[in-house]
């Protein structure tokens, strides 16, 4: 087994001191001389023609420096995927949801800007609005986008194998329909940004984003600028969960306001605006039919799904594909068909959120597996193990499991939860349930199909020798990626973590697609390792020449140079180094040549030592339409066991314990991996138990704050036993792959299965509010009574 010095430890995170002391700088902490404050005018109507916009009074208000509408900034379409650029910064002809952007104001204070917004007069002609999938697909439904008839953003029709035949050959067939509710990302930090032009026409946008690269590209496109003249910087970020993975209209409006006024402009969403903007998890309705043989072998899966998309596409095309493609694993499944429809309506747009597209499909399917297991009299764990893929297997839709510790995960939660003793032996009202899941470690292409590298990293050694500066455009959003890349750089270069300084989140540092799709550890990690190896090879090449020893006979470990020939005389190099530090009293006297000495010698020989690294996946397979959504260089996988108590009188569910195992390949930082696992459980629990965005009949969000949108609190959170299962991923840096999203996959179905075990009721609609569970229990009692 390979030995590691830095990775696979519990190194302290680089950002801990700043965050623990409150010194971490977030967008809203930043102020610039002469800075103006921006505010948006957003539609109060869900669907209306805009007949006129009068900004006269707003412009007259003292302190107002600019008022912009689509007349001023143009109507260049943008969005997430070039195939569906269906947004403009400000609306042109009509508004499509409550919150659609109409105008923006910059003023000397936020108060004045907000007052000016109130002074803008807009004449609307109210149009009929639709708020549900059912209403939006009716033949005579109001059309939301001229270009996309029938209110369809995208539809998917896929079949792998022969599903009808598979179902005919099945001994047991289950069909269920499962639906969830629209989520909100509910990150702590609301979106915010500061845009600023310098006197040479270069734009810097400081923004709370997960994807500086995509924002840079969109800003340049919409403002009609060279990409090279747009710099996007991300300071510390209070999370994103997918919602901040694309440019938002506020960022674009802010750039236009800065351009117009020639002053820095700051804008922020309020919490209400975060709910209005949404872009979080869709509401899905999945109808799934699964066929299996008597011995539990899965044969076929027939799957239909509609997505309640909202007014714009956002990530919707990717979402509708992911909702189908990720059911092909982790079980061997020769036949699978999928019909997916992503539907527009007059609510805020949904987008990507942790476990993109796949979470509810997983919940529906894993619940069905338990139903099949029960009917066949097989333990749910056994049924899953029986069908489980293993390393090297490829799904019917071409997803290759290059490493796969799924069975190990099942074993770990089985033992960790004491499953064999508890299952079937718990009193009424107490239950235990399990589920599995897996997720991609990034995709084969950027969201705009291109041959670009997905990550480039630059490492420069300081000229004095000894410190490595790592520059990456990747996005630390709270998940710990900065620390992971510093650890990877230290490991690859052979120096202690303390010898690394890392800067990230700035488009000037290179290309990095950012924090989404669980891609950074694998992809940015590869580029970091590549850059560190490049630096190392340059230092060693100089030593080889100076000491007349082949490069193969030396290595760098723990900050020292290791020579195969241990008696090699390097005293001349040490003398040179010491001469470089005349007057210093702490000259090196170690038995081994230090990395500081070696890198200084390299600098003296070659000038500044800079290493570059890059990564993009090789072609990942799949020739069918949509193959790019699902194929990935590697897949992380999880198993979870949930234990619950159901109050049979009130329907209240308490999650007592969660045992969670995840295969993340080699864990770069053990503590960060566990953090992602626990965070996933918390988010999955919230969605399972009480989170839902609720609208009135006019398209207004009713619960647009964190009092009424019910996240999991510390009081609700059970004990989570996190077990890190490490496989060795051949396509990952040092064998690493994802954990950030795969870990959420089993949470909801494990809870659903545990509730069934406790109360005897299958629940097909989320969240599991006391009322929904109570109603199910009552219906069950009536059925039983009638029987």
């Amino acid at each position: 087994m390979k030995e590691f010095n830095t990775i696979r430890t519990r190194a302290n995170r680089l950002d801990s001191p700043d965050k623990a002391t409150g010194e971490a700088i977030y967008v809203d902490d930043i102020s610039k001389p002469g800075m103006l404050f921006g505010a948006l005018l957003q539609s109060p109507h869900a669907h209306a023609k805009v007949l006129s916009i009068d900004t006269t009074e707003a412009k007259k208000l003292p302190g107002v420096k600019a008022v912009l509408t689509s007349k001023d900034v143009g109507t260049i379409p943008y969005g997430v995927s070039p195939a569906r650029y269906d947004e403009t910064v400000f609306v042109t002809d009509k508004v499509r949801y409550v919150g659609d952007e109409i105008a923006a104001v910059a003023a000397t204070s936020l108060d004045i800007a907000l007052k000016a917004v109130e002074l803008i007069r807009v004449e609307y002609e109210i149009l009929p609005a639709v708020f549900t999938v059912e209403d939006a697909i009716k033949e005579d439904a109001p059309q939301i986008h001229e270009k996309y008839k029938g209110n369809l953003t995208a539809e998917v029709h896929q079949e792998f194998g022969d599903v009808e035949k598979g179902l005919k050959e099945s001994d047991i067939i289950k069909t269920t329909t499962v639906k969830n509710k629209r989520q909100d990302g509910a990150f702590l930090e609301m979106q915010g940004c500061i845009a600023e032009f310098d006197r040479r026409g270069n734009l810097t946008l400081t923004s709370g984003t997960q994807t500086p690269h995509y924002v840079q590209r969109t800003v340049a496109m919409v403002l009609g600028m060279d990409i090279g003249k747009v710099r996007v910087k991300k300071p510390y970020l209070g999370a994103g969960f997918g919602i901040k993975a694309a440019a938002n209209p506020m960022e674009l409006a802010c750039c236009f306001l800065a351009k117009e006024t020639n002053k820095p402009v700051k804008m922020n969403y309020t919490r209400e605006q975060v709910f209005m903007f949404c872009r979080a998890r869709h509401q899905f309705t999945h109808t799934i039919t699964t066929g299996a043989k008597k011995d539990g072998t899965l044969v076929a899966l027939k799957h239909e799904c509609t997505l309640d998309g909202g007014a714009y596409s956002s990530f919707g095309i990717a979402t509708v594909y992911y909702a189908g493609s990720l059911l092909a694993g982790p079980y061997k499944l020769p036949n699978m068909s999928y019909e997916g429809f992503r539907v527009y309506n007059n609510k805020p747009a949904c987008g990507a959120q942790r476990g993109h597209g796949a979470v509810i499909a997983r919940a529906a399917f894993e619940q069905q597996l338990d139903m099949i297991a029960e009917e066949l009299g097989i333990d749910p764990m056994e049924l899953r193990i029986k069908n489980m893929m293993s390393r090297g297997d490829t799904t019917c839709n071409d997803l290759n499991m290059s490493s796969f510790g799924m069975s190990e995960c099942i074993d770990a939660v089985r033992e960790g939860s004491d499953w064999d003793r508890k299952k079937g032996n718990m009193p009424i009202g107490k239950g235990i349930g399990m589920a599995c899941g897996f997720f991609v470690s990034g995709a084969g292409f950027p969201i705009y199909r291109s041959d670009t590298y997905h990550g480039t990293v630059m490492i420069k050694l300081t000229e004095d020798g000894g410190t490595a500066l790592v520059y990456t455009a990747s996005a630390e959003i709270g998940q710990g990626s900065d620390t992971a890349f510093a650890m990877i750089a230290a490991e690859a270069l052979g120096v202690p973590l303390s010898a690394i300084r890392l800067a990230s989140g700035d488009t000037d540092m290179g290309v990095d697609l950012g924090a989404y799709s669980s891609r950074q550890t694998l992809m940015t990690g590869h580029a970091t390792k590549d850059a560190a190896e490049h630096v190392k090879s340059q230092v060693l090449a100089v030593l080889a020449e100076k000491l007349d020893t082949p490069v193969e006979d030396m290595d760098i470990k723990n900050g020292f140079i290791e020579f195969k020939n241990q008696t090699l005389d390097f005293s001349e190099l040490r003398t040179t180094y010491i001469k470089e530090h005349r007057g210093w009293i702490d000259n090196p006297d170690s038995e081994k040549l230090t990395f500081n000495e070696a890198s200084r010698i390299a600098y003296l020989e070659k000038g500044t030592i800079v290493g570059t690294g890059k990564y993009k996946p090789v072609f990942l397979g799949g020739k069918y339409k949509g193959a790019a959504v699902g194929t990935s260089p590697a897949y992380g996988c999880s198993a979870q066991v949930a234990e619950v108590t159901v109050d049979m009188g009130t329907g209240q569910v308490i999650i007592d314990n969660v045992t969670d195992a995840h295969d993340c390949g080699k864990a770069i930082n053990m503590t960060s991996v566990e953090g992602q696992m626990e965070g996933s459980v918390s988010m999955g629990m919230g969605e399972a138990m009480h989170e839902e965005v609720i609208f009135d009949d006019k398209g207004n969000v009713l619960n647009n704050d964190l009092a009424e949108y019910k996240l999991v609190t510390a009081m609700d959170m059970p004990k989570v036993k996190s077990i890190v299962v490490e496989s060795d991923e051949p396509n990952g840096p040092f064998g690493a792959k994802e954990v950030g999203e795969g870990a959420i996959m089993p949470t909801i179905p494990a809870i659903l299965n545990a509730v069934y075990d406790a109360a005897g009721v299958r629940i097909y609609e989320l969240p599991l509010t006391p009322e929904r569970v109570y109603t199910a229990i009552q219906e069950y009692k009536e059925r039983k009574g009638a029987a």
Binding site: L114, G649, Q652, M689, T713, M715, D716, P770, E771, T775
Partner: protein, 291 residues
């Protein structure tokens, strides 16, 4: 959304506060912890240019035991009540109400007077004050008066207080021997919750005959104000203190004493069903305590 500007007065005596209230009349809003007033102002649900804070009036945050009653100042906070030894020992249901309201941060600010004056049908402390038969102490520049908590709430956000009056505190009689009380709140999560239903019960029984001498049942979130389940109370008076009786009380409370509505937190049908379950459970727990 920003908090609008307002003038803040911080009188240090009740007299000064009453004078200010008289002077500004309906244009001024009284505030204690601010956990409701400031939120409503920010959300533009209420409007005012003048706020009179009562927090600097020391005597309003006292909890005093005198004779056979306890006097709780209007500005006593949830956290303070939760920790108070007399509340802990003699008014357990009120303590649970205070323990359950909002989160730690809110409990450090929110006051019992504020909770009642906000008069939300789902308010946490109100059912408990009702089952302990509290008297509401009210003052104005014209003098003092007391009103039973049962008659204090008039509608959502509406109370018996006149414009120039201030609620200064509550008098709670010390519960008799052989009595117990219990409060249950039901929401979707375990903290920072707004109740879907909340119920408090008080029960006094005769240990010799094992019958119920007296009971008070208060229901929250099922009417325009918290209400007493009078039909259920009458029905069980003199009946044996046992599970069947408590079940009957729950059924009566559910069918005859409440008329909940549907809203986005829960349906009327569920609320009504839960009144049955929680009335029974709180009576049962009260009885166990009383023994």
């Amino acid at each position: 959304m920003l908090l609008p500007e307002f003038e803040l007065h911080e009188p240090v005596s009740i007299e000064d506060a009453l004078k200010l209230k008289k002077k500004h009349g309906k244009d001024a809003r009284l505030m204690a912890g601010g956990t409701d007033v400031l939120v409503l102002l920010k959300k533009k649900v209420i409007f005012t240019d003048t706020i009179i804070s009562l927090l600097q009036i020391k005597e309003l945050s006292q909890i005093k035991e005198s004779g056979n009653e306890v006097v709780i100042g209007a500005c006593a906070t949830m956290a303070q009540l939760s920790k108070s030894s007399v509340i802990k020992e003699k008014f357990g249901a009120l303590k649970s109400s205070c323990d359950n309201l909002g989160s730690h941060l809110i409990r450090n600010r929110a006051t019992i007077g504020g909770n009642c004056c906000n008069a939300s049908p789902a308010g946490d402390t109100m059912p408990s004050l009702m089952i302990y038969d509290a008297k509401v102490m009210i003052e104005s520049t014209d003098g003092k008066r007391e009103v039973s908590i049962k008659n204090f709430f008039k509608g959502p956000g509406v109370t018996d207080l006149a414009i120039h009056e201030i609620l200064t505190g509550f008098k709670l009689p010390i519960p008799p021997k052989n009595s117990g009380a219990h409060y249950i709140q039901l929401g979707k999560r375990r903290s920072s919750e707004i109740n879907v239903v909340n119920v408090g019960s008080f029960l006094e029984y005769d240990p010799d005959t094992k019958t119920i001498i007296n009971s008070r049942i208060a229901l929250g979130s099922v009417a325009a104000t918290p209400i007493r389940a009078q039909k259920a109370e009458e029905l069980i008076k003199g009946k044996p203190a046992k599970e069947d009786t408590f079940y009957t009380a729950g059924e009566t409370a559910r069918k005859e004493d409440c008329k909940p509505i549907d809203d986005f937190r829960g349906s009327a049908a569920y609320r009504q069903a839960m009144i049955g379950v929680l009335t029974k459970r709180t009576l049962q727990a009260s009885f166990e305590q009383a023994q």
